[in-house]
Amino acid sequence: MIDKRFASAREAVADVRDGATVMIGGFGEAGSPIELIHALIDQGAKGLTVISNNTGTGLVGLAALLRAGRVRKVVCSFPKTAGSTVFPDLYRAGKVELELVPQGTLAERIRAGGAGIAAFYTPTAAGTPLADGKETRVFNGREHVLEHGLRADFTLIKGRIADTHGNVLFHRTARNFAPMMATAAAVTIVQAAEVVEAGALDAEAIVTPGIFVDRVVHMPSPALESALNEAGASYA
């Protein structure tokens, strides 16, 4: 009997330690696991390194985690979405470190980390400031940059439907980074709007196989960043 369900977001994130590296799914609000992030704020771990494509908007979700002072460093491709003020303020004040990574390289580094590939050569960013200090090498007459796999202690992602074995389906463009992040952490936590028994999902259509998922939290009506912001919400 395998059952990866956890009773609450609080219990699912209870063992995140200070200084942990946490991957957080989402591209903008699409796929952002708001309830897991809020549980992480409540839990209190600090000095975190967060790997996520953006830095959140308004005063909820990722932005709230940053505003609560829990994040030491962000690894990110685009930290200044419209409506994003928390990260820019912290960054200008020197209170958070930023490792800027091109979006495709970020995706590939996470995939590599999860797939046991130590490093790879990509043409992206060759000849730009984002290759400064990095090893380069010419393949087929073209300069490539050596990039290393990324791994994390925890991954927090949002699914549309999961089963008790941890198999996950996503919702449209909310999929984005989640499938790679699920593979690259010691502990992967999924919040899913629907949770079903193993065997209920079509084995051909599963996007993230259960082997990559450790904990499943049922979150029937997940909040959206934009809706919370329009309502003037502020977390913590």
Binding site: F78, K80, P102, A107, I110, T124, A125, A126, R175
Partner: protein, 224 residues
């Protein structure tokens, strides 16, 4: 080359929609296309009759359709600009590794991007002015220019202050080196060639000298 700041006095040249329409004429039927955020998105409005293009948005959708009506749509069906979109018949969703595999692996035919500067050697700067207080943010731009077969730049010929955006060498941080195929500005269509900027076509009412004066490097006249 030093160039005095000169503004583009209206109504000379193409308006934004005119540039977009001109770009659209050059996209073959069946192309897989990524349109950058902002004015490149206008291109989708001008696809000539009889052509079907498939739009890619790098956050994970091939077969993107137009924006839904205001207040409609799905907040988790968005484009790379984080705005709500729709999907066309034949659309497919996929993760970021697959999406950027399409980009980096040369599967997309065309990327249309904005620019801060384009150099005569094809270098592109479009993600940062390098200002000290700027929050650096790059997104997928470096991947797009590194991987997509043709990179079209759609831009005003000069900045609001009248400074040329087509330059001898970029002074802003690069997005990619030698990556631009062709530039579509309000004044002209210009190819990047081994010899530098090569005029393809002037916008209506624009003379060669008018365009050259507003360009930070020599433009070669058409050879035909």
């Amino acid at each position: 080359m030093s160039v005095a700041a000169k503004t583009t006095e209206a109504p000379v040249g193409w308006a934004r929609e005119g540039i977009a329409e001109r770009v659209a004429q050059d996209i073959p039927n069946g192309s897989y296309v990524n349109l950058g955020i902002g004015i490149p998105e206008l291109v989708a409005k001008f696809v000539p009759a009889g052509r079907t293009l498939v739009y890619h948005t790098e956050n994970g959708l091939l077969g993107m359709g137009p924006s839904p009506a205001a207040g409609q749509g799905d907040p988790e069906l968005i484009n790379a600009g984080k705005r709500r979109v729709t999907m066309m018949p034949g659309a497919a969703f996929f993760d970021q590794a697959t999406s950027f595999g399409m980009i980096r692996g040369g599967h997309l035919d065309l990327s249309v991007l904005g620019a801060l500067q384009v150099a005569a050697n094809g270098d592109l700067a479009n993600w940062s002015t390098g200002a000290d207080d700027a929050i650096p943010a790059v997104g997928g731009a470096m991947d797009l220019v590194a991987g997509v077969k043709w990179v079209f730049v759609m831009t005003t010929h000069v900045t609001k202050e009248g400074t040329p955006k087509l330059v001898e060498r970029c002074t802003y941080p690069l997005t990619g080196r030698g990556v631009v195929t062709r530039v579509y500005s309000d004044l002209a269509v210009i190819d990047i060639t081994p010899k530098g900027f090569q005029l393809v076509e002037l916008a209506p009412g624009v003379t060669f000298d008018f365009a050259q004066e507003r360009t930070g490097a020599p433009i070669l006249r058409p050879t035909h």
